[in-house]
């Protein structure tokens, strides 16, 4: 929508301008609220902490509302995810400079389960994967390095296209493809190790 001469219009017809803002807030609410579970899920995987994830999601929604007027598509979910990712990166940076949190930051399910011992022999190519429950899969994914974890979550849990993932993580599609390939190999190795550890 062209914005030429908008300030003059606002002065001339304040009713329309106010209506515009409310309309925008309503459209944001309609678009963003149904995605709350998705955004929260991504935050949980990226931050591996329930409280931090809640804070990040709230911050993400407020930032997104503030910038909604400049949103031009194409898809809303990747746009919202990119904002969340920025918020989470800021949180990571804060943790890195705050030694107390960095040390105490080990209460989430992600941090448990350091294997006591691990099968080292090569796994046969055709080995069937056992089905795990959500808690186990969340833990296996959470143990991946951040860049690989992010790739797995955006693709395997949120089913985004490579293009959308590339936009969110601000990397070329080729990088997304190689990260995802590496991430799946690592996850599969962890998966196999997990099922060998279990009776």
């Amino acid at each position: 929508m062209p914005r030429i001469g908008r300030s003059t219009i606002e002065k001339a017809t304040p009713v329309t301008a106010v209506d515009d803002d409310l309309d925008q807030a309503r459209r944001f609410r309609d678009a963003a609220m149904p995605l709350l579970d998705d955004v929260y899920t991504l935050a949980r995987y990226l931050l591996r902490d329930a409280n931090d994830a809640e804070d990040a999601v709230q911050e993400c929604y407020l930032r997104a509302l503030k910038h909604f007027h400049s949103y031009r598509g194409p898809a809303f979910k990747p746009w919202l995810f990119a904002i969340l990712r920025n918020v989470c990166n800021a949180e990571h940076a804060r943790r890195a400079t705050s030694p107390t949190t960095a040390i105490d930051d080990r209460h989430d399910e992600a941090e448990r389960a350091a294997p006591l011992w691990q099968e080292t022999e090569a796994t046969p190519e055709v080995q069937l994967l056992r089905r795990f429950d959500a808690a186990t899969i969340r833990r296996l994914v959470a143990e991946l390095e951040p860049a690989f974890r992010e790739a797995i979550v955006l693709r395997e849990i949120h089913h985004l296209s490579y293009r959308e993932i590339a936009d969110i993580v601000a990397a070329p599609v080729g990088t997304v493809m190689s990260r995802l390939s590496r991430a799946r190999a690592l996850l599969r190795a962890a998966w196999t190790a997990e099922q060998e550890r279990m009776p």
Partner: protein
Amino acid sequence: MTCDEAEILLHALLDGELDASHSREVEAHLETCPRCAAQLRAYRDMTSAIVASEPHFAAPSALRQRIAAALPQPQPRAASRRAVLKGFAFGSALSAMAATGIVVMVLRADDEQRIMSEVVSAHLRSLQAGHLTDVLSSDQHTVKPWFNGRLDVSPPVIDLTAQGFTLIGGRLDYVDGRAIGAIVYRRRIHVINLFVAQTASSERQASKIETVQGFNIRRWRDRGLNFWAVSDVAADELSEFGDKFESAMRTANPG
């Protein structure tokens, strides 16, 4: 193709991201290389095991409430843009003859945008838990009669399951202040809402694809009905849906 190349490309194949010629190359390699073929099977298996485990988290309701409270509250639209423009158009009698034509055109374009925006809002509301369907059935002979008596005109309900779009039910919705039929389809994990409303114009209007708030809308008019198909599926898939619906409608009721 070497195994090293295939090892990366088979992920793109699995994710449906490869173009036809690369797909053929990878598939040709897989036919001759049992090791890479086993890799693909294992990754496909892993992908479906992840989905089956339902690894999503549900946002705590306290968070939902906190965010809803932090967003500006929705308010009744006291003075819509249409009302403002109408007042302007009818109020300035002197320039009425000159202005009316232009204002009517402005109103029409604005109305279409507003209705599409409402259609997207209705689509989004439908995605919230428990709002998708009023009548849940994959049988068109159950869904169609359900609309009788609830709407002035019963919308055409066409089962496109065989064409890759599963009919999952129907719903009564409100767009532009009036009741409207919504026929609900599923494409993989995506929902397609097909909104159908009666219109005064019997003139056929060819389909148009547009994007509103990140959702694709394919709209067309046929036999006195306006159609809006809304979804987050890709534009070409939504076109395919519309084409199949239109052609099935022609077959079912020629002329």
